[in-house]
Symmetry: C2
Subunit: 273 residues, 2 copies
C-alpha cells in the first residue's frame, strides 16, 4: 500500500510553503491504528486533538466531520495507519495570527509498520537518550508539530537490533517518556507508575486507556514525577503507544528486567481497544 | 510586491506533505534584510545556518551556491525580505532519518515590513509574556522550525498600538529574548548586557553584530544570565533583529525607561550592516 493523502478532504499531497505548519510547526497531529476497518481509541484521539486545538487557539474542525472522514479512510482496511495533521493554515510571514483563521487538515493513510513480533513477546532494550525534553506547561501533553527533540533523540542510535526505543528525561533527570511511546513501571510495592506530563511529554491515548483499565481493576496507580533511580528499581517496565501496543522492557542500558504478570495484563488491556 | 518562491532553486510554492519540515518542524530558517540589492549581515546568517545544520545533523547545502542564490534573489530590490528554509526533506513516517538525505531548500521574497518609524525614534513598549521558553541545550541558539513558543507568546496581546514586543523568560524567570528579537540592557555600572543563550533562545545576527561592535569600541560587554530584576533596573534597554534594526524600549509593563546615548550608538552600529 502506498501512502494516500487528502488535504481538506480532497485528494492531494502538496501544501503551500506559506502554511504555518511548515513555517513554525504551528499545528497538531494524531497517529491512529486501523484494525479490521476500525480505528482503535478514536474517541481518545479526537479528545486529545481538540484539547490541543484549545491550547494552541486553533479553530477546531467539526468533530463529527472529522470522525466521519477518519472512519471513511479506515473502512475496508485490515491493517493501516492514519495520520491526521491540523495546521493553522497559510498566512503571511510573522508569528502573529488572526484568531479563527482557517486551519488546514491533512490526512494520510500508510502501510502498517511491521515491528518484529518478538518486541511484544520477548521485549525490547531501551537506551537512555542524551537529548532532554524541555519544560513548557503550555505545550506539555498535547501532540503538537514541534518534534525536534524526538528527532534528535531518535538519531542517537542506529543499531535497531540492539536498541529498540530511547528513554527521554527532562533537564532535571526525571523520567518522562520514550521517543515515540509512554513508559510505565510496576513498582515493588504493587503500584503502577507513569510520569505525570505537566511540564513536557505527550499524553498518549494508549497510556490513557491503560490508566483507566488499571483503575477499573483496582490496581494502585501513580501519575507523578518518576525518578530514574525509581524506574531502575522497578519489578517490570513497559512502553506503549497506539501502534505498537505494549512492548515489555527487558533492558535499559546494562540493567535487566524480566517480563511479569502486570505487563502481560497490560497487553491484554491493549488488545481490547 | 507579492511573495515569490523558489524550491531547490526552481520557481514553485508547494511542498510535499511528507516533508519533515511540516511533519516535525525538522529544519532551520533565516530571515534576511535586503537593502539596495544587498543582504545585510549575510555572512552571519550563513554561519548560523551552517551551525544549525551541524547541530541537527542536516546535510548542509553548498555555502557558495546558497550565497549566490540569495544574492541573485536580492539583486535589484531596494527593500525586501528574504526567508530561507532548509528542511530534512520528504521521508516516510517516523522520527528516524537516514543521514545524508537530501534537504529541501525553500526561498521566499517578501515585501519589506513597514514598521512605524516612531518605533526606532521614540521607542516601544514590551509586555512580559506568560509563555516561557523551555530549556534544551541541543536546540538553543539556532533558528530551527519549532516555533510554537513564539507563536503562543505573540498571541498574548493584540493591541499593537500599546505593546509592540513581548519579553520572554525561561522557566526560572530569567530574561532570554523577545518573541522576534534579542534584548540588551545598558546597566548602571557601564556594562552592556545581553542574556547568554546556552539553554534557550535564538542567537540573532544583529545581536552578534552589536556584540562585536561594542567589543571593538572597548565597551564592557556581559553575555550571561540576566535576571528580570536586573533588567528592570537598567538605565537603557533595547531590542534588535536584522529587520527592525534597533527599537529602544521605553516601557516594560508599568516600568518606564528613557532612550540614552548607548541605544543611539547601537542604532548607528545597526545601520552599518
Amino acid at each position: 500500500m502506498t501512502t494516500e493523502c487528502w488535504i481538506n478532504g480532497r485528494l492531494g499531497d502538496m501544501i503551500p510553503v506559506a502554511d504555518r505548519g511548515l513555517q513554525y510547526g504551528d499545528g497538531l497531529f494524531e497517529t491512529l491504528a486501523v484494525n479490521a476497518g476500525r480505528i482503535a481509541l478514536l474517541d481518545y484521539h479526537l479528545d486529545r486533538l481538540l484539547r490541543g486545538c484549545r491550547r494552541l487557539q486553533l479553530h477546531a474542525p467539526s468533530v463529527d466531520a472529522l470522525r466521519a472522514e477518519l472512519m471513511s479512510a479506515a473502512a475496508g482496511h485490515t491493517k493501516a495507519v492514519l495520520k491526521l495533521i491540523i495546521t493553522r493554515g497559510a498566512a503571511d510571514r510573522g508569528y502573529g495570527f488572526t484568531s479563527g483563521s482557517e486551519t488546514t487538515r491533512i490526512l494520510t493513510r500508510h502501510a502498517w509498520p511491521e515491528y518484529p513480533s518478538e518486541f511484544s513477546e520477548i521485549g525490547v532494550h531501551l537506551r537512555i537518550c542524551d537529548t532532554h525534553l524541555g519544560h513548557n506547561r503550555r505545550l506539555a501533553g498535547i501532540k503538537h508539530l514541534n518534534r525536534l527533540e524526538q528527532v534528535l533523540a531518535r538519531a542517537e542510535w542506529s543499531e535497531i537490533d540492539q536498541v529498540q526505543e530511547g528513554l527521554m528525561l527532562d533537564e532535571e533527570g526525571m523520567v518522562i517518556e520514550c521517543t515515540m511511546s509512554n513508559v510505565f513501571a510496576w513498582l515493588d510495592h504493587g503500584v503502577l507508575a507513569t510520569p505525570d506530563l505537566q511540564r513536557c511529554g505527550v499524553e498518549g491515548v494508549m497510556r490513557r486507556h491503560l490508566l483507566e483499565q488499571a483503575r477499573q481493576a483496582s490496581i494502585a496507580v501513580r501519575v507523578a514525577g518518576l525518578a530514574l533511580t525509581e524506574l531502575m528499581q522497578a519489578k517490570e517496565i513497559f512502553v506503549c503507544n497506539s501502534l505498537i501496543g505494549i512492548w515489555p522492557v527487558t533492558a535499559i542500558g546494562h540493567w535487566k528486567y524480566s517480563i511479569g504478570s502486570m505487563t502481560r495484563q497490560a497487553q491484554r488491556w491493549a488488545s481490547e481497544t
